[in-house]
Structure formats: C-alpha cells, structure tokens
Amino acid sequence: MNFEDEDFELREIQRLEGHTDKVWSVSWKPATGINGVPAVFASCSGDKTVRIWEENSTGSFQCQAVLEETHTRTVRSCAWSPSGKFLATASFDATTAIWENVGVDFECVSTLEGHDNEVKSVSWNNSGSLLATCGRDKSVWIWEVLPGNEFECVSVLQGHTQDVKMVQWNPSMDTLFSCSYDNTIKVWVENGDSDDWHCIQTLGESNSGHTSTVWSLSFDASGDKMVSCSDDLTIKVWTSKMQEWDQNAPWKHVCTLSGYHDRTIFSVHWSREGIIASGAADDAICLFVENNDNEVEGPSFKLLLKKEKAHEMDVNSVQWNSGDRRLLASASDDGTVKIWELVRLSGQKLL
C-alpha cells in the first residue's frame, strides 16, 4: 500500500443487532440516502425473517419493520425493485416472496413457487419488468412482472451442472448472469421477443475463470465491467464491449486479484464511483480501485484498504449505498449488520 492509500479509512458507523441467526444478505432500497431521503435497507437471515432498517435524522439506523411468519426456512437473499415499491425475498423454503411497501408497512402480495428446493438468489432487471431466481435445483427461472401483482414464469434455464448461487441482471441491458457451485458464470439472453432464453457464454476455467464455487458477481455503473468472487480465494474482473449494444459480445477476463482473502470470498459489490468491496469467510472486508498507473497492459486493480476483523465471524454480504455518503452495509454469521463509511482522513474529496 502506498502512502496515499493510508489516507482512506473504513469507519464503523453502527453495529445493528436484532437477527437471531446468521445474516446472509443486505440490500439498499434504490434512491435512498440521497437528496434528503433517509437511507433504507433490508437484511435477511437464517432466523427466517427480513428486517427493514431506516436512517433517522441523526444518521443512525433503526429497525423499522420485521417481515416474519411468511418464510418457513432461511431467507437467503433479498432485492428491491428499481422503483423501491417491492422487495423480493428468496428462501430455502423453495419460494420467493414479493412484498409491497406502502408507507412503513410491508404486505406479502405474491409467492413465487416452482423451484424444487432452496431458492438462493433473486434479482430484478433494470426496468423492473423481469425477475430472475435460482437455486439448488440447478435451474434459473425468469419471471415476467404482470399487472395486479402477478408473476408469470416465462423461462426455466437449465445449463448449470450444480446449484446456482446467484443471479444478477446487467444494469444496462436485459442480459442475465448466473454463477454456480459448478465453478462457472453463465450469460443468458433472449432470442428476439420469443421468451426463449439461451446461454450465449460460459465463463469457466478455460476462459481464465474460477476454479471453485463462484459465490457472487456485480457490475460497474456502465454495465460493461463485471467482478466475481469465489471459493478459490480470488476476485476476477471481466469486461465486454456491451457499450456497443451488442448483447452477444463475449466477456473476457481482465485480471485476477489474489492473496487478499485467505478463506472463501462470499460477496463482491461495485460502487457507482468504481470501488469494489469484498467480504469473506476470513471476517475481513477489502476495497479495491482501478489502478491507472499502468495503462499499457490494460486495466488493473489495487487494494485500497483491508479491514481485518470487520465482523466476529464470516462476512456474507457487502453492499454500497449509492447515495451521498459512501456507506457500506455488511452482513455476517455473527448475526449483526454493520454500517461503514469510507472517509479520507485528510478531508479531501474521495476520488
């Protein structure tokens, strides 16, 4: 780390207790924490509940609602619709619940059934018209959002040979990405408007991909770069020429970040300003930024800082708020969620 980097600090703002089992995932509500709108996020847990947390006028977070008595097993992941009107929650009970947010109330308005067993991840596309889910049954499901809180399954995608850990839509076009226990990332697109989805690329070991379970992936703001993390203890950055609006443009490996975590890396998230956060089973959080020193050999990334002992146990999820402050939420096996703020000790502008 060079001198300049010591200027950055990931400062713990708050440690939130309430869940009674491991916290698996956190998700910030879109367009909160900006323009005077208080920041809001959801957390989900092995205690079968979802908690909604809201920032108060002093900048500290309080639990505003507990969503319970709907899921009967672990709630593995949660995702807000782009409008913030709905929250989708994926559970080991084989269902995905859709909650409508009216004021401070949350009502379960739909339950999506179809997966054989554990649902592990849920993701809304950029317009909120499509939802994707995945699970232990090795399949990825695409659901169309219809009026009246109806959700219709339009496609069931088979291709992964093991359970699918996460699905994530690209932010700039309706291309779906999934990552799996089979060590690969798959890219899925629709054929015209036929509701017929197929895999156009598999990023595996032969494409300089991961050599063990791929747990998570995330996109930069433009959607033409992707970061992934794995049980192989590496973080990989990928790119494609998506900006040319060619959905079929192949994704290529850019670089591999290794040696920063010494146990499974469960979560990566790319902030709007370009900072990659990672959370791992070594209880640590790392932040990375693009290194512009070496433009000849293409983009590379460097460690901005490492927060050892960020939690008392595994860090399962890290998520940046996209608002005014550089807030990062992290979820852990220790049953807590922590809110962090990235600050510069010199008081200079962040980047």
Binding site: R76, R136, T213, E312
Partner: protein, 160 residues
Amino acid sequence: MVSELINANPVVYEKKERRDRGGRAVLDEYAAEPIDQLEIFDILLNGDIKDPEHPYSLEELKVITEDAVDVDDQRSYVRVTFTPTVEHCSMATVIGLCLRVKLMRSLPSRYKVDIRVAPGSHATEAAVNKQLNDKERVAAALENPNLVDMVDECLAPSYA
C-alpha cells in the same frame, strides 16, 4: 435408516487409552484458555460420535484419530481429516456433517473449521470435501429434519 449396510463388516479397533491431561491448575480464570489438538479430539470422541450404520464409535472404526486433528489456536483454526471405512462410503458426507455440527456446538464461534476426507480414502474425495465445506449447503442440510435426526442420533450419548 438404511435398508442395506454399505459396509456390513467393518474392522473394529480397540479404543486407545487416553493420555492423562492431569488436573489443570486454574491460575487465572479470566485468562484465555488455549485449545489444543487433544482437546478437539476429546470433543469429537467424548461425545462418542457413532457411525451412522453401526453401534461402534468413529474411534473404534478408526474413522478419526488424534493425528487427524490440526489445531492452530492462535488463528482460531481447526482442520479434521477423517477416513471413511470404505472407499465408496455414501455415509461420508453424513459423518463429516456430524463432525462439523459437533465442533460448531462445542467450539467458540471465532473458530474456522475445515472438514475433509483423508487423501485417497474416498472415491469422490473432491466432491465430498467441497460439499462439507460449502456453508450454504451445510446450513440447508441442518434445516432438513431427517438429516438433523440422523446427526442427533450420531451425536447422542451412548451410555455405554
């Protein structure tokens, strides 16, 4: 539980005499007490984890031995290497799950635990190891009532 035994005639070994740890003098009850290899072995065996198929303990079947426990208390790390009784033992994942649950229930939560089958001891070694160390799969397994019953049965005191 299983209609046909996977290993009908396992070799049963004598239980080894336990090393005498001696009475531990408590000098400072607030001092962090380091955890060593023998202690982990005691945790795994004093509970008398039984083979899912047989009335014998995992020690009597040499599924685990003291040497198979690596501990680094400074780093809060434990690795247990076990040896299934036969190469195709489909019970290997259940045995591994029992070992993990036993350690989860006994060790401080700061501990990181890796469980694996001994190199060369199982036909699908890599697959078994991967499954045993995927915490999402472990969490899901421990919400399955049938598997939890099986694990609890293995971990139940034998009153022998």
